[in-house]
Point group: C2
Chain length 296, copies 2
């Protein structure tokens, strides 16, 4: 299967799983559940969930038992976007080409919808649907990794550093630290969750972890490049918005050519990491190429 | 042991546990961790954690293995206060007699500190310190209950209803629904978590659940009454602030006398629920009385 075809097939499975696991829009309070649905079903590549599935498949696991965990990674990613977009944070009006949650539902409901999505993530990880498919101890380990990746020393920590460093000079090491926390940690946790639950060997797990670290950083650099070079119509947000906010980005710190070279080097690193794995890791290989080459 | 003495002794254990489990203030990013510490160690009765311990003790469980779970309930409660106080929500300047998080650290960091506290809660529930002390399946069940109580159909749902109904006429049923979600669900989950992990029998669990439901509602009614009658110096927030915001409260809907009668009836109900339990449930009994009679 070609990468585009694989991504699309898995994205559909993830969307189905999200529809199945999320409380319905009509659940009380309906306003809150509508806001949760609005952000979850607002497009998106479902990259993190697909990485959960692809990592599991790479070590011979089945897709189906991983779907609830894949959905959870999207809930966490989406909550972080809803909160990042708030006026007190990045103050963005557009996300995935649509008005941001707080523009539609107001700030209070956007904050609460983000809180609810994060809480729901841990609810799903411990729901019968998920618990019945996995070894309880292994599942607890995976929840632990996801919480660490999303928490104060991971994603939330990265967002804090990103906000407080706005408009300030950031050196290369500082920038990489923000990127590793803000985007890298959750991508690393996504592939590790899939691999761990699918019963990866130590060698497989290490290969997939190294892959996740390289791909996570490559993704953020590619994102930074797109913010400079992309078109609003395809990226779904304003071009140059990072620069306008004085955000520390890879192109801003290193220049565009160096940023592209670094992304290419990380792609090579990701592919090399996967050498211990056989053809079943081809989707992971394709996703790494897709991430670095994507136009939106 | 008298209730006041019991509460103080357990509060100290909970504070110790919180200091042990929370990432240090010096962890990177220090600003975020300082904000987390500021709100966690800003006083507070530690009612939910103490209820976890007292419920476990009531069915013969030991205190020590329950401490990480007790700490988690305080993290979740505190995150909800930090977000509730935000300008887009209740817009409060004071909490527990000190400036609210966003007044000290700014809105962005307050939002992120709340997010981090919530995430950390699930991190602690799955950390080796907690996992090693409990049966994995039972622990997964408890995490599930806590997530449900804190989520879109529990606490966050209650806060949403509270915010959207501000300044609107709310009937008695609507008010009780908000209270049950906003405060009741997490208090119910606190006592159930302690009882479940301590190995409660079905009869014991049902008794403690009924107790939790009565006490949870009584607590919110007592809180509403204090907001009318209390003194800012002892409650740590502005008196009459609910009325000023057009909040639906028990005294506003039913009148003060009826609110007091309802709190007393709920206390009687809580005590009656505990009849199947022996003297080891005396701290739970004392806490119920304390909640209804407290002056702050």
């Amino acid at each position: 299967m070609e990468t585009a075809e694989y991504l699309e097939a898995r994205r559909l499975l993830v969307d189905e799983a999200l529809r199945r696991v999320l409380p319905p829009e009509t659940a009380e309070p309906a306003l809150l559940h509508r806001a949760m649905h609005y952000s979850i079903f607002g497009g998106g590549k479902r990259l993190r969930p697909v990485l959960v599935l692809a990592a599991g498949e790479a070590v011979g696991g089945a897709v189906e038992p991983l779907l609830p965990v894949a959905a959870v990674l999207e809930l966490i990613h989406t909550y972080s976007l809803v909160h990042d977009d708030l006026p007190a944070m990045d103050d963005d009006d557009l996300r995935r080409g649509r008005p941001t949650s707080h523009r539609v539902f107001g700030e209070a409901v956007a904050i609460l919808a983000g809180d609810a999505l994060l809480t729901e993530a841990f609810g799903l990880l411990t729901a019968p649907d998920c618990v019945s498919r996995h070894d309880p101890k292994r599942l607890l380990t995976v929840i632990q990794e996801i919480a660490a990746a999303a928490g104060s020393r991971g994603m939330v920590g990265g967002q804090t550093l990103d906000i407080v460093s706005e408009g300030q000079a950031v050196d290369a090491a500082g920038l990489e630290s923000v990127h590793r926390r803000k985007t890298g940690a959750l991508i690393r946790a996504s592939v590790r969750a899939g691999a761990l639950l699918a019963g990866a060997s130590q060698v497989q797990l290490e290969a997939i972890t190294a892959y996740g670290e390289a791909v996570g950083l490559a993704f953020q650099i590619a994102d930074d490049i797109l913010n400079v070079e992309g078109e609003a119509a395809t990226t779904g947000k304003a071009v140059g918005s990072d620069a306008a906010k004085g955000k520390a980005t890879y192109p801003a710190v290193h220049g565009l050519a160096e940023a592209k070279a670094r992304a290419a080097a990380l792609l090579a690193e990701a592919l090399k990491s996967l050498e211990p794995l056989d053809h079943r890791a081809d989707p992971l290989r394709g996703i790494a190429r897709f991430i670095v080459d994507r136009q939106r």
